[in-house]
Symmetry: C2
Subunit: 349 residues, 2 copies
DNA sequence: GCATGGAATGATAGCGCTATCAAACTAAAT
DNA sequence: ATTTAGTTTGATAGCGCTATCATTCCATGC
């Protein structure tokens, strides 16, 4: 025995492998593999013995080996902008409500709106040979798009519509949101309407929202909406700060549309501190319908976005793709949005 | 053409492999692999040519193959309770501030406090052969612990201290938090002190906090603290509801300690709606020092927890382990916490 | 001139698993 | 009994990469 030194290095301590389980039972590796992955292909008595042995020995499938051998990993990477506010969490919820039960694992990554991050992430994530991928937004660098197409896997872009999706997209029109916001605030008789939001370099959705907003104001013959923005992540405190800056620049502002509800909440709190009457003096319209919007007093009017629904649908699109019945669905799905009137735009009885 | 049917199935379309790059340049695969993973081992002119070819051809490393061949994946899975509130996001920030630059990818999973999830997740995640793993909490099923030990990789448990860590732990004592809260509220002259929180089946940290809280009250000779809890995820709205239930059960409550700041905010909002004076009639003490606590008026006193620091330190512990200099550090690190007095416990000038 | 040694590159053998095909066995049909 | 078809199991060949060892090529020093 021990005649030769093994060719391979003494790796991290020897792990239990399929072979160990197979030897233990005196069956072939393939049978064990089947019992685990395609149980219906193994006859009952054997299958039970195998599963029992697997549990007893503590065998855990090596995902790298499995993925390599089978040419792909049952994994769906999701690239979100950030988790620093709760905006994208419902999207994950939606995904989690359908993908795991179809046998897919979800891998969450965030760009934090940093330039170049998406491309790096996409490249890395595709290295796993995932079965599909979910991105947020519809703006990607050309080489990112090339990579995605080269990967020949289904791609779903969420959170936005418009343009030609790489593969499929599920979202809503941010431009339309901006228009709706402007028209609504104008319909309340407001004339000096501003926008408060964050404006990270890569946040083209905000840009489109602002674009729609400004255009609608122009169409209405109203003065150009002042945009007060910062590049930090959206937060309550930032909403406070931006209001202060805004009022310095344009004290007569009588309505504000926000890029996110936490900003609106910050502004509301600052207004209360300064005894500015909301909505009498300034009307506030938030975005995303986060929990805080409905919980403060007065409750913040907001534009609700179908984030959970988007996640669910994105997941379902992928699943139906894998089941081969994908042709029927249109490539770009617009889920719309909903304006919710609350106390910061309407005087409550 | 098409003389033989290939032995292997026509996988997902042929991907660019290392071999393709090597052939393109007329060099060995190993040299390409080195140029990518250990650049210093490849002489300058060749290295540049290789990297150029890689970019031109669009080669992406197959992570499964790489992980299989090298006996592990530069991946650190992190198992958190939930992302449904922003409590754990700073922890991720801390991890992201150190692990990626050391070459590790982070894989986030959540248990959502569901029974059995952690064990399943640990099993699955270990299947990737990660180099280390980060868990939250110090309570795991025996078989989870067995699996972790069997994996022979560094494990860091965050968010809690006490007991014997599987490997290492970084956190603070929830029991001590409970004691501090009770003592502090009592020191303000409060006598009917309650607790409002969530109490998911697996949230042993809440249990320990409540335990410390109740014990401290007993030591002080105060009536047992009423616990009003729910098993849903913590939220502003839930804080409102739980206050309503609490006041029905014990109208004379003059101080409340919360399991999370969003609950405290909900209670504050409900108090304001009901014209209950805070802090005069009821003092509120939150937990975690979330942004909302400092932004509402009156600002909510809270117990700040070092979540970002925990993440950073957990990451650094792993890194130093890989660098072999791990012996010096104690196995369980207590980072403590900090009581922040604000308007909901002290009348502001 | 010829060892000596280091640096750069390449050939080879797996890593642990699954797809494939072949074999063995069973049951039904002829 | 013998074919036919279906079911169950096993042997084998990679998946694409990296660890290892062998080889080649130079510059040194004696």
């Amino acid at each position: 025995m021990s005649s030769k030194i093994p060719k391979t290095s003494p790796r991290l301590t020897h792990r239990v492998t399929l072979k160990d389980v197979a030897h233990d039972l005196g069956v072939g590796m393939m049978t064990v593999s089947r019992a685990l992955n395609k149980p219906h292909l193994v006859a009952e008595p054997l299958r039970t013995r195998i599963l029992e042995a697997v549990a007893r020995i503590g065998y855990v499938q090596n995902r790298a080996a499995s993925g390599l051998a089978s040419g792909g990993v049952p994994l769906i990477p999701v690239i979100l902008p950030t988790l620093h506010h709760s905006v994208y969490v419902p999207l994950l919820d939606g995904l989690y409500s359908v993908l795991p039960q179809a046998g897919f694992e979800i891998l969450v990554s965030c760009t934090e709106y940093l330039v170049g991050t998406e491309e790096t992430l996409v490249t890395n994530l595709l290295g796993w040979n995932p079965r599909g991928i979910i991105l947020s937004g519809i703006d990607h660098t050309p080489s990112t798009v090339a990579r995605l197409k080269q990967a020949k896997i289904p791609v779903v872009e969420v959170m936005d519509t418009g343009g030609i999706p790489v593969d499929r997209s599920v979202g809503f029109s941010h431009e339309a949101v901006g228009i709706t916001a402007a028209n609504y605030l104008a319909s309340l008789g407001r004339r000096s309407i501003a926008y408060i939001g964050t404006l990270a370099e890569l946040d083209s959705r905000s840009v489109r929202r602002i674009h729609g907003f400004q255009n609608a104001l122009k169409t209405l013959g109203l003065p150009e909406g002042l945009v007060e923005s910062s590049d930090g992540p959206s937060s309550i405190g930032l909403g406070r700060q931006l209001l202060i800056r805004l009022l310095e620049r344009q004290p007569g502002t009588d309505a504000i549309f926000f890029g996110n509800d936490d900003l609106a909440a910050g502004t509301l709190f600052e207004c209360q501190r300064r005894s500015i009457k909301v909505p009498e003096q300034i009307a506030l319209l938030g975005f995303n319908d986060l929990e805080i919007a409905s919980e403060v007093t007065p409750a913040i009017s907001s534009i609700a976005t179908p984030r959970r629904e988007m996640g669910r649908l994105a997941g379902e699109l992928l699943i139906s793709h894998f089941e081969g019945k994908t042709a029927s669905v249109e490539r770009s799905i617009d889920l719309g949005f909903r304006l919710i009137e609350r106390g910061t735009t309407k005087i409550q009885l």
